[in-house]
């Protein structure tokens, strides 16, 4: 297999060398010529030059190879050309990419005078009062030959660019009419486009031929260069170069250059074509750079970098804005977090303050209740004392231990009772800020009634409780809610003090009201007048002989902090009702 490959390669090599040896004797020199108006026209145009060279180099066959812009590049890349003639724009591209170098620059004979330079005119009809300077071209339509045409578009484009007008974005539209250039002039003359750009001197040539009147056109951005007689809107650029490819021998190239410089427009067979010393193509390079075409066509990355560079100020501003916005967002976020924390802290502080106040209030309440509570504890203590003393006596009298069973059981029972009372008091006053827990509202109400048992009995008040049994548990500060109940019941006890004995009835009612629980403490006292009713929950508003009058005010705060409401009203049948509501947990315990 490998052997076959070698044999194949060897044969292929022989064939190649054979071709080379056959081609060698013909010794042709190939000149690529830009066929911008078609191959035939190109051959015709450059025939004088070819003929001159053929005459100077009889040992070579001089071949013209008309070629497009793309073909030119491909041919140079493949080293198929020895020399080439192209437009200045294409040349600098080839110079950059393939190391080509110009030998001579074309000298054109226009309107009688030879010139090695080309320029462009930008023109409109002279009867357009709205188009007087380049700035007037914004929003107008432009006609050119093609995007790739040097004199027929690119030079004019550069002029506009210099004036700050991008024809592709700032103007109403750019149309390319193609060759011949004359079309552009006639189209503008017919008003099919607002302005046109062609190489300089074309207008004068057409005028000489009698096809147009110069006065019918206005030259925009008119320029004057000494020795250049045509109307001009642009700087001058070197004319087409005759260049050598990188690989072409320098000696041969020098000889070719000398031969071409000898060509004169008047010389025989020159047909008005002549070459002069090579001009600098730097202006073309600059133009292409500014238009970012040819070798200076930018990649997307470059475009972006260029854009950044050109709009540096804006970008810095935008960046600064973005940073500012980010800072603002960050700061806002920070403030939100901080304020939220502060709010939570202040809410917590308010909660603790209320808890502290409620605690002090409970202590005060207990102080006010001391007599009743003392009685409540005294009773079992006295009872115990009695049983114990009686038992001692009976033992002395020699009774059987069987007879002591009852008093001893009673002693234990009474001690438990006293313990319960103490526990109740401690529970009422110990907790400062108890966490919210699941609590049964009825249990809290019963506890409050028990705590006030002695007071209620002494005040000869009949308690009638009507507690709904199907109430859901609540997430509350149980001690605080019990305190509210105690405050309301004590308020009721005082309200009924002047009532005839036997007509002091306290109703304690719990019920469900949709999403809330409602507790009502109803007394059978005299009720309140409208003014007193309005101020009932105000602090220090008390006509009581004892206490600070804070009880109801604190009750209000406690219920409010639980998301509930508290309100008072006179009963239709006499007495006052104070109710409070508490929201029922919607299935989630906080």
């Amino acid at each position: 297999m490998r052997a076959w490959l070698w044999i194949f390669l060897a044969l292929f090599g022989i064939v190649l060398s054979g071709v080379a040896s056959i081609a060698a004797p013909t010794a042709s020199l190939t000149i690529g010529v830009l066929a911008w108006r078609g191959e035939e026209k190109a051959r015709l145009q450059w025939e004088p030059t070819r003929a001159t060279l053929q005459a100077a180099f009889p040992e070579y066959t001089i071949v013209l190879r008309p070629i497009g812009l793309k073909g030119m590049e491909a041919a140079l890349a493949a080293q198929e050309l020895d020399f080439f003639i192209t437009n200045p724009g294409n040349y600098i591209e080839m110079e950059q990419r393939y190391g080509a170098s110009r030998l001579v620059t074309l000298e054109s004979v226009r309107v009688g005078a030879p010139a090695a330079s080309v320029g462009a005119v930008i023109f409109s009809r002279s009867d357009r009062p709205d188009i007087r300077k380049l700035a007037d071209l914004r929003g107008k339509t432009l006609l050119g030959v093609s995007r790739e045409a040097f004199g027929g578009f690119q030079i004019g484009w550069g002029v506009l660019q210099q004036a700050g007008i991008d024809p592709f974005t700032d103007m109403a539209g750019v149309t390319f009419a193609g060759f011949p250039l004359d079309n552009i002039v006639t189209q503008v003359a017919k008003g099919r486009a607002d302005v046109g750009t062609v190489r300089a001197c074309l207008l004068e040539e057409m005028a000489q031929e009698g096809r147009i009147e110069m006065d019918d056109f206005r030259i925009l951005n008119p320029q004057h260069v000494d020795g250049f007689d045509c109307a001009l809107s642009s700087p001058l650029y070197p004319n087409w170069p005759f260049a050598k490819a990188r690989q072409t021998n320098h000696v041969l190239a020098k000889r070719v250059a000398v031969a071409l410089l000898k060509m004169s427009p008047q010389s025989k067979g020159g047909m008005g074509q002549s070459w002069t010393i090579p001009l600098s193509y730097q202006p073309v390079t600059e133009l292409f750079k500014s238009l970012r075409i040819g070798p200076y066509t930018l990649s997307a990355g470059q475009v972006f970098r260029e854009f950044l560079q050109r709009n540096k100020g804006w970008f810095l501003l935008a960046l600064a804005l973005v940073i500012l916005a980010a800072l603002h967002v960050w700061h806002t976020e920070f403030l939100v977090v901080k304020r939220t924390r502060q709010l939570k802290e202040s809410q917590e502080k308010a909660r603790l303050r209320l808890a502290e106040l409620a605690h002090v209030s409970r202590q005060t309440t207990l102080g006010e209740m001391a007599r009743g509570l003392a009685h409540e504890i005294n009773q079992p203590l006295g009872s115990i004392s009695n049983y114990a003393a009686g038992s001692v006596r009976m033992i002395k009298n020699g009774v059987s231990s069987k007879q002591l069973e009852e008093p001893l059981r009673e002693i234990a029972h009474q001690a438990e009772h006293a313990g319960r009372v103490l526990k109740r008091i401690r529970g009422f006053v110990d907790n400062r800020a108890s966490p919210r827990k699941q609590a049964n509202i009825n249990a809290l109400l019963t506890e409050a009634i028990d705590l006030l048992g002695a007071e209620l009995r002494q005040a000869d008040i009949t308690v009638q409780s009507r507690l709904a049994q199907d109430l859901p548990p609540l997430s509350v500060d149980g001690v605080a809610i019990e305190q509210v109940a105690v405050n309301l019941i004590r308020n009721a006890i005082e309200a009924m003090a002047q009532q005839a004995s036997g007509r002091r009835i306290l109703n304690v009612i719990s019920e469900r009201d949709k999403t809330r629980l409602r507790v009502t403490i109803r007394d059978s006292g005299p009720g309140l007048d409208a003014d007193a009713l309005e101020r009932i929950f105000d602090p220090f508003n008390s006509d009581k002989s004892s206490g600070m009058g804070l009880g109801l005010s604190i009750s209000y705060s406690i219920i409010e902090s639980h998301g509930g409401m508290i309100y008072a009203d006179n009963n239709p049948d006499g007495g006052l009702s104070i109710s409070f509501t508490l929201p029922v947990d919607q299935g989630n315990d906080e």
């Binding site: 007599r371 003392a374 009773q379 006295g382 009686g390 038992s391």
Partner: protein, 205 residues
Amino acid sequence: MSTTDAPPLIHVVDDDEGMRKSLCWLISSVGLECRAHVSADAFMAGFNDKRPGCLLLDIRMPGLSGLDLQQVLQRLDSSLPVIFLTGHGDVPMAARAFKAGAFDFLEKPCNDQVLLDRVQEAVAEHRRLLAERDQQTELRQRINALTDRERQVAERVSSGMRNKEIAADLGISQKTVELHRHNVMDKMQVDSVASLAQIWAQVEI
């Protein structure tokens, strides 16, 4: 008809069951009969002033209070001594109670010996009062047995008048005065003028 010698009965009126029952237990430990009442009304329902005893009364109670009950008893002219029991030293109440004739005013819980001593003293006092009342009743019955003329004579004998003066005063003979005088001494069951004078002074006619 006198019940002065009957065994004493102690009444306890207190709305607190523990207190009520324990007091009775203590009292019965010294061999006294004790009856506990839940309220003033319950006590009044079975009230009998004849039997010696005393009343241990809680001053604060729903319904009729201790002081209210004391007033009721006064109106009924009861001699039953009342010992007030209070859970809290309430001076104005104590003053009121004493003014109304309370036997004592004790603070709960009180020393058992003090309580029992006071109970015993109250019982003794009640006995004395009951005996006094019995005696008065008897003397009054004797006086009621006298004829009008005999009562006139007895009245004058007690005030130290001589028979001669009495005869002159009433316009009757001295002999008749002597006869009435003898009947009076007989009916009044006395053997001296001094004794007659003492009874006459005791029973305010």
